[in-house]
Structure formats: C-alpha cells, structure tokens
Symmetry: D5
C-alpha cells in the first residue's frame, strides 16, 4: 500500500457517519455491536479514542465498511476535536461557558472535598443521558474521573 | 456611602473565603445555612451567581461578616471566572480538555438523542460528589441542563 | 454513495447561491416557496440552520437542484459563520461593534427589566426589514429571544 | 483643579450606578428626567455616549451627585465596553454568538434588499423591550441604523 | 453552469493582474477605460468593491478577458484584504503603524474640530498621488470621508 | 529629584488636556503658540512625538503648567497609542478598516506608480481638515510620506 | 484578621526569596530543613505546590519569617507560573522549545513503548542536577511521571 | 526531477511511519539499524532533525523505501512540530503544563546551581524510558543540555 | 498564458532551491553569477526582494531554469517570510529573542547616539559571515540601515 | 529589611535613567566607568543582564545612587523587554520586521555556511555604531553569536 492511499482518521470518521446515516443507526446501536458504552464508541468514531482490532472489526461488520476503516480506528490519534481556541458552535460553547463561569467554583469545591489534586481526564468516563421532564427534557452529562492527589517528593 | 467605599464582589469573595477558613467550615456547612446546594452556594461565593437578601443574610450571620458583604452578594455579576482564554490551573484545565477532546462527541451524541439544539447553561444545575473507590476515590460531576431545541421561524 | 462524493454544506450553499442568482430570485422568493421566514431561510442556506425534508424538497424544486443539496440542508451543522475572531467585513463588523460598544448597556438594561438571566440565542427569531426614510433608508433588525432566568439550585 | 482629582468616566459610572441603586431607580426613571430614551441614557451612564450640559445637569439633579460627575458625562469617551476580544459574560456572549452564527446571513439578506453597503452603527438607535409571553417573557432588541451605500469614486 | 466551474473573485483578480502585466497597462489606463478613479478601480480589481455591469464590461473589453471575470467583478465581496490581524508586508504595515501611533491624535483632533462622531469609511474616497520632490519623491494619500455625528435618541 | 516624583508622559498628557479644556483652547490655538502644525502638536501632546525645549516651554507658558510637564514633553517616547491589537473605538477603527480593506489596493497602486518600496511613516506629515459640504461636512486626512525604494546590495 | 491584611502567596514568595538571599541559603539548604526534595521545595516557595503545617513551620523557623508566611504556604494555589502563553525568558523558553520541537517525537516514542495514554504531570516528580563536564557543565532534568492509560468504558 | 515531484519531509514521515507499522517495528529497532539513539531517530523521522547520507541509507534499507525518502531525511528542516501555540493533545499538553507550572521553579533552581545562563536545547540529548513499578509503570524523560552562561562583553 | 498556469513566487523558490541542491551550489556561487551580495540574492530567492530582468536572467542561466522562474523573480512580492507571529524554528527564534530581550536596549542606545528616529529596514543591507574561532566558529550578522530622524511639521 | 521596601529592577532602571539624564551622561560614559561595552552596560541598566558587585558598585558611584540600586543590578532578571508579542514602537518594530521578512533568508544562508544548527543568543555580543554618511548617517548593528551545531545522540 502506498502511503498516499492510506485512509486517515478524518476519512474514517466521514465514512462511518455516512454509513450510520444511510443505515439509520444511532450511536447506541453501534455501541451494542462494538460492546462499549455509546459515548466512548462515539468518541472513537469522532477520532478521539483508539479501538482495538476486535472492536474495530465489529464496527466495520455492522456498517459494512472495508478494512482500511478498521485500521484507521486502531491508530492512536493526535487528540483534540476543536479548530478554535474557544469553540464557536453554540452546543459546544455552552460546555466551554460552564468551565469559564464555574471553573473556580469547581476548583474550590473539589479542593474542599479532596484537598490539592485534580480530576483525571484520562482515567475518566462520561455518560450523556436524556431525562424526560414535562417542563422540557433535560440533557444530563456525568463526568466521572479519578481524583489524583499531587505527589510530593 | 461614598462609592469608593463600596465593597466589590471580589472583595466579598476574599472576605468570605477567609472567614470560612478561620471558622473551619466547608461549602456544605455554608450551603446548609443558606438553604441551597453546596455547588450553587460556592458559585455565588465565587462571584458567579446572585443571592437574594435572605440567602445573603443567612451567609453573613453564619460567617459573622458585615452587611456590605451581603450587598455585594446580591449584585448581578459580570460573569466569567477565568483570566485566561485557556485555563492554566491543571484542575480547571482538565475540564477544558474534556471539552476540547470530547466536544464533537458530545455534539454528535446529543444531536443523536435530541435533534438540533443545545443543552442550556442557564436552566442548569451542577453537582460534584466524591465517590469512594478502593482504586482511588473518584470525582463525579453531573451537569444537568434543559435541552433547548433551535426555534424555526 | 462513496463518502468522497458527499456534498458538504459549503458546497450546497455555493450551489444554491449560484442558482438563486441565475434565476434572479430573492431570499423572500425562496422563503415563500419553503414556507419559512426569509431570514431563517437565508440562515439555513448559509449553513447555520437545519431544514427538514419537506423544506429542503421545496427549495430544490424551486431552484431545480438535485437531491444531494436537499440531503446537505438536512444535516445538523457545525454552526458559526465567521473565519475571524473579530469579523473583518465592514457590514458584519458593525454588528460586532454594537456588541462591543453597547454590550454593558444591554446587560444593564436587561437586568434592570428582567433580573439575572440572559436572552436566548436558541429560542430566538430575527427579522431584517428595509424602512424607507427620506433622509436615507434604514435597516431595522429585530432580535427576539426568550428571557432565560438563571436557575438556582 | 489638579488633574489627579479629575473624575474619570469609570468613576462617574460607578457613582451613578450606586446612587441609582440607593434611590431604587430604573433606567426608565433616569431617562424621563434626562429627556432621552432609556437605552441611550444607559449607554451614556455606561460611558459610551456623550451627554450635553443640560442632560448631564438633569441627571446629577435627580441622583444628587456633584458637578464632577456632570463634567465626566460630557467628555467624549474612548468607546468600547468589553475587556475581552470575545465577551465572557453569558448575556453579552449571546449577542456575540448571534453575530458569529448569523453574520453571513445578515450580510446576505441586507445585500439582497439594499445592494452593497452597510448598516450604520453611528446613525443608529437601539430599543430593548420586555414582551410578555405565557411561554416565558421575551427580550426584544431593535437595531435601527441608516443604510450607507458604498460610495464609488 | 456548474457551481464548481464558477470563477471566484480571487481568480478574477489573478486573471486581471496577469492581463494587466502582459498588456503593460497601469491602473490609470484601466481606470480611464472603466470611467472611474484609479484607486477605486484598483480596489474593485483587488476584490474590495463592486463594479456594475457597464464598468465590468469595459474592463474585460480592454483586457480581453471573458465574461466570467465580469460576473465575478459584479458580486458583492466579503471585504477585507489582509490575512493577518497585523499586516506583515512593510508597505502595508506602515499604514497600520500610522493608525497605531497616531490613532489617539486623530481622535483628539477630529473631536476638536467636529465633536463626537466618526469619519465614514463607506461614504469615503481615497486618492494616492506621486509628488515629485528633489529630496525624494513623496507618496500623498488623501482620505476623504463624511463626518457622521453620533445620533442621540 | 526622586524618581518616584518624576512626571510620566501619560501624566503630562492628562495635565495638558485638562488645562486645554479649562482654558477652552483648541489644538490650533496651542499649535500657534508652539509654532508647529496642529496635528503634530496634538501628537506630541498625546505622547507620540518629542518636543524640543523651546516648543515645550511655549506650551507650558500658554497653558500655565509647571516645568515637569515640559521635561516630559522632551523625552523620547515609547511610541504606540493603542492598547488593543485591533482598535475598539469606532473612530479609530474606521482607519484600521481602511487599511484592512484597502491595504492591498494601496500596495498595488503605489507599486504601480513607484516600483518596489514603501511610504515612510517617519519622514512623514499628516494633515486633518474639515471640508464643509451641504450633504454633510467631510473629514479630509492627508498622509504625505517620502517614498523609500528598497535598497539592493 | 482583616482580609486586606492577608498575606498572598505572591507576597510570601517575595518574602522567602529575600530572606533566602539575605541568609545566603540555597534551595538545597531549605529543602534539608523542610525535609523535602529541593525542586519540590522550590516549587512550593514559587507558589506552585502546597506545604503542610509541619513543612511550612520548618521553613519559617529556618528563615525567621512570621506565621502569615506559613499560612500562605499551606493554601492550595491557583497554579501556573507564567504570564505569557509562550514564555519570554530565554531559560524558560528553551523548555518550551523542547516541547514545541520534540512534542510529536515524545508522543510517538511514548505510544511506541506504552500504547495510548499519557505521562501524568500530577503523580510526577522532577529532579534537576548539575553534571560536571570538561566541555562545559550540563543541566540534567529528569521528569518522572506515572503512565496513565486511557480508560475505555 | 521536477520540483513538483519532490518528496517533502511530511511525506517522508508518513511513508516511514506506514512502513514501520506494516513491518511491525519499534523506534528501538530502527535506531539499532541507523546506529543512533531511539529518541533522536524518532525525532529525525518526525522531521525535526537532519540525518546524514549513511543514516538515511540504513533507514531506507531496513524499511525498503526508495531514495527520495533518504533525500528528504537529509534536508535541514524548518523545525517545530506543533500546529497550536498551546498543544491540544493531552500527552503533549502535560509537558507544556510542566513548563507552565514549574517554569519559574526550574529557572530558580538552575540559577541557584549555575548562576545566570540557560540550558541549551541544541547541545542537548533526551532519553525516554519505561520504569516498571507495581503501582503503575512510569515514564522517565531525561533532558540533558549544556549549561550556557550569559556572555558579558 | 492562462492565469492558472502562472508560476507563483513560492513555486519559483522551490524550483530554485532544488536546482541549487542538484547542482551543488552555494548562495555565494549564485550571487557571483547574479552580480549581487549573497544575502540579498538569497532574500530574492526566498521571495522577499525583487530582481530586475538582467539579474533574473543570469540566475536562470546558471541554474538552467525556464523563463517563468525569471518572471516570478521580477514580481514585487507580498513580503513577510514567517507563518507564525512568533517564529518557531530555533534558528529564527534566536533572532526574535534578541529583539525581545534587547529591544529596549537597542532603542535606548540608538536614541543616545542619534536622537529620536529609527533605523531604516528599507534603506538597509545585511551581511552574514562565518568567523572562525578556536572556541567554536561564530556567526556575525551585520545590519546596516540609514538613520531616519522623525520629521516634525 | 522588609520585602515591601525592596527595590525592584524596574525601579532601579528608572532611577538610573533619571540620574543619567540629570548628569547628562551617555551610555558610553557609564560603560567606561563600569568597564564594559556600552551596549552590554545599557542592557544591564534596562534590566536584561546581571552585573556583578564590582560593576554595580562602579555604576552607583558614578551616578551617586544608593546601594539598593546596586543590589537590584545583581539580581538575575526575568528577561524579556517587550510587553507586546509584536513590538509597537517603530524603532523596535523595524528589527522585528527584519526577522519577519529576512528570517528564512538568514536560515538559508546560515545553513549554507554552517550546516544544521543555530546562532547562540547567549554566547553572544552586540555592537551598535553610528556610521557617518553624506547621504544620511547609518546605524550599524553587529550581532556576533557562537554557532551551535545540533548535537546528535
């Protein structure tokens, strides 16, 4: 294979999203096939996490894509999904705004409960659920990360 | 009262945090007195939310602060807690990183579940809990915002 | 369909604007056909709003475009229409200038009338009209957004 | 008078807002006294427009402030109300977002109706009204600027 | 015509400048043919102003270019000619430097002569002349814009 | 003299502008006294040019200021009058916009007339005049700089 | 204690560095007294790590400083030591350059050895040693961080 | 050879990484063949260092690549591996964070040990090792640079 | 010639550098042929200066390139050779660092010797020489620019 | 000594420049007294280099300043003399422009003469001389830095 013919992760993302739309599947459907949580599955599809061979194989089987897509899904990505320093898309911006407005609050509360350290963004899981509500359904995002205390030496 | 003697919100934050430390109180303790959730209470103390007279009164009673602190807590703030476009403090940065790395994932999953629209950062609550875990305690942050569909006209 | 042959939203915008010009139509004309307000119709054409199948179908019928344009119009966009942090084009810059110069005024007046909260940019409509005036016609832009009070918790 | 004792426009803004709060007045109340529209009156108080001697005199009479406040209100300001290139406060950001998302739409529609030119931000008025609505009150902002066609030479 | 074959304004600029060079013409020569001032003519060629059909027709006649160039010249441009926030090219930078160094001087002098308002950059003409001088020829740039007083309301 | 008591150029600017206002003088009046053009005189007052002892002496005589103002006027300044990369004040921004929109036009026309080189911003004068016009008075700014050809070596 | 009299971490840093200089001590000397590694001790003095009461007590005993310095050393800092996005000081810049030039190399090598994950900057120690060398002494900086594999979920 | 057919360093990097993956080799394997340290070898492959003809020849022999790859490896690169001012990828960001948080610490400690000067990033080597640890393996990065004292003249 | 087939200055630079390498020539060799100083010759090759027809002709004769390269060398460039505001490549960064660290020193010394004014970067020559030194060869860069005093008017 | 009374390097610079002016001395005069080159002496006065006790002592003797100035001159500075990423002052900007325009030229020529490596900005001297010239005196700046070849390992 010539390196010019290699499928990039961006191309794999495009191919998967098009197949997902044509087959009318949700991320939940794909996650069931892959054997992972829908949010993690979506993050791997969006090029931000690394599938192993088995996971990638199940995905291309479900979506009837070729093996170069599976290869791309197994490459460790250069992570980071946003082009702009500050996100412009309103949905994504709202999450930036939460960090901007409540950042010092989160820092104060976490230090109050745990002392000096951080919440890991690596030993970390995220869930996104729809909570039905008569006043308007709600998006519930749960961030669950290991507390890492600062090591002293 | 001369406007030069007015207590700013930043000064009120400093005074409250010092009193909190001297009295050895947590945000939970203050929240109980104020009658609000600890995270919201912390956000008001950090100058990002607006207390009413009753809430502010309970806070200064508990912490034995004077009335100008209560006045400052009732002013609607110019919101935004970070000096830098991209936060520098590692604890706060990890939340920025989650938005940077998983922003397109969150967008894809929310549109998958709800269609075109956003999660409100105004009709919104946040909870931060400590989850004990033998492999290391975990920080669990729950973001709960109303889904706002894009209005067509 | 191969993902490389997919029509992007940018390509759909280009195709629609060219057809609009060749057929000598205004956004008002297209809006009548689509059954929506001209400003919303223009925003969907510019790639910032999502048409449903019926709306997209009417548009391609009027402009005699093929179905891949209709597909593109139904995809939820990555929103944001400007390349620069601060817009450079003089027409667009004037709106930025209004926010820059009058931003604190708008904040002060809205809080004066409504208390702490924001004007929604999602549950939101915009109208743009030409007001004839012997001293020079005027552009009248009306922004109409739901007031969202900050939730306390 | 020593130049170190001069009241800056920022100091005048602080003094007026404090007096307004202590006297429990709205911008509407002040505007009636000054003889101007409430939004313009607010913009002058926020240091973005220039009062004449009569307007400034009426304002200090109502609020019982001294003459140095009136002097400051009559100075032509260095305009611009925001510290950040992109506003951080959520209320102000929503207006920035409208320009960011709908900027090319506004350009396309205005050129469709008027040809090449801009909406003036100088020969310009703004109104901000509260529209009651059973589904939640709405903020209605009306921007009314003279169309300025590009001069050819 | 397929939208992929459309001539962009950038392509039109390239084609005109190449023809101008091959025919050994100056902007003065083209301006005479077009019936406009050389600076305005150059600005339209550089993609910053909009020609009407007659002007564009004369230009392509002189330069023997095809009709798609004339079409491109009649489209209203997304204006702004510089890629960088601060121009890098030394000739263009010197004009930026004049604004940077003398900006507050220009503001002070114009307010001194006219009161609060601005010089329009839309109802505006520019001339650039060569003034012969035994100590070295001089570039004389004349900016002539309508004074727009701030409207009060 | 202790260096803490030294008058900075910013302090001198403030003192001069206050005296100018209290004495109800224009820049033209001061320029006559100083023996220089009003724009250059204003630029020196705004801290962007260096007066000699005689010029500074005449200025403080007219305005009845003390000698430390004259000392400050004779110091060579760190030049640059704007805090922001892109000016925010609308009057100053319009000049930035002229450079942004017409920068490549100015480059093309000057090279057309002079060849490769620049207009000096150092061997440079500026005039600002009010041109009366029944359709609205006009601001006429004349920039006159020596052409400097690029030296080859 | 009034919050205005509180010693900030910046003030504590200044006081410690002055005492260190006056007593002619090295970071090694202070580290021995505190019972920690010299680099960690220096980072706490520079306001980037949190001492406990015992460590802070030993430090003020050695340097003969008062208790408010010890209080400041025990506060959890808002971390981040640089004012500029890109460091300007040449010594610090060289470390930035190493990340800029070798960043993708470090990523490639670490993934080659460990798979997808990161080196922790929290469960992390740093050593800085002087290695004597006849061709010029060398600085040897050792970064030792726990490998954190990306969690899948 | 036409300059359009020249292999760029980016293309060489792509080709080498693909061959490395297809042959299932590590950087250690390639380094042994090249006769250099694995980190330096990786940096040359990533386009940040310059191989000589012998080194490049051994590399293409091992990976069975053609001579244009060897040519590219011998060109002196425009160095710098990151697109963003602040790196976005979490692995690379952690190294940036170390410079951001500990930058002043490193400066203080190095000046304490060496006086005024810097650690060279040119007369410099880097090692990256895996240190096995029952609590989780560790990444150990050793930076070894010549101390360069500031020359006085 | 169609404008799409035109050789850009970037393409000319690529072609010349490839020919220079294939013919194993230095900039000194080319400069001798062109009849200019090697640094100026290099700057013209790098697209930052304008050759005349004779100079360009000699260059293509030596390197056996075609006439479109000569045409490109005679076009007046849009000058500026760096993509980043702050250069990333270490060799170029060191020159930036010299300006950053010694900028105010250069300003102070030049004003001390010449009064208010600047060193021209247009009426300017640069020489770069290798100075052999037993302690390591040295790069000697000589910048020679005309002093331009600020004109008063 | 209380740390609040410590003289900062900025204060020392101010004090020295004022004394230099009052005594009507040049940097050459001070350099003779200090026993160093005028440019290095100026750089130390501007807070960018570190004097030893003897040098600092000679300086305060000449200028009749007190010992706290000498202390400040001996502190190793946080280097970097410019507030802006891109310098605004025209004299300093011209040096930035030289790096911006000729940066790739300098890189090409130095690699041509020396191979891969850099010119040191640490093992570095700078001279600034006035060269008299009937066509206008010239500023000659000589940068002399050790060539540092990239170490391979």
């Amino acid at each position: 294979m010539d390196f010019k013919e290699k499928m990039t992760k961006e191309m794999a993302t495009e191919a998967i999203l098009l197949a997902k739309k044509n087959k009318n599947l949700t991320f939940d459907d794909i996650a069931v096939a892959v054997g992972r949580h829908p949010v993690w599955t979506a993050s791997a599809i969006m090029g931000q996490a690394t599938m192993n061979a088995e996971e990638a194989g199940k995905l291309i089987d479900l979506l009837e894509l070729n093996g170069s897509v599976a290869d791309a899904l197994q490459e460790i990505p250069m992570k980071g999904s946003l082009d702009d320093t500050i996100p412009v898309d309103p949905l994504i911006y709202r999450f930036h705004e939460i960090v901007q407005v409540y950042g010092t609050t989160m820092k104060a509360v976490i230090h109050d409960k745990f002392g000096d350290g951080i919440m890991s963004a690596i030993d970390f899981t995220m869930d996104i659920e729809k909570k039905e509500d008569p006043n308007g359904d709600r998006v519930v995002v749960t961030l669950d990360g290991k507390f890492l205390p600062y090591k002293k030496w």
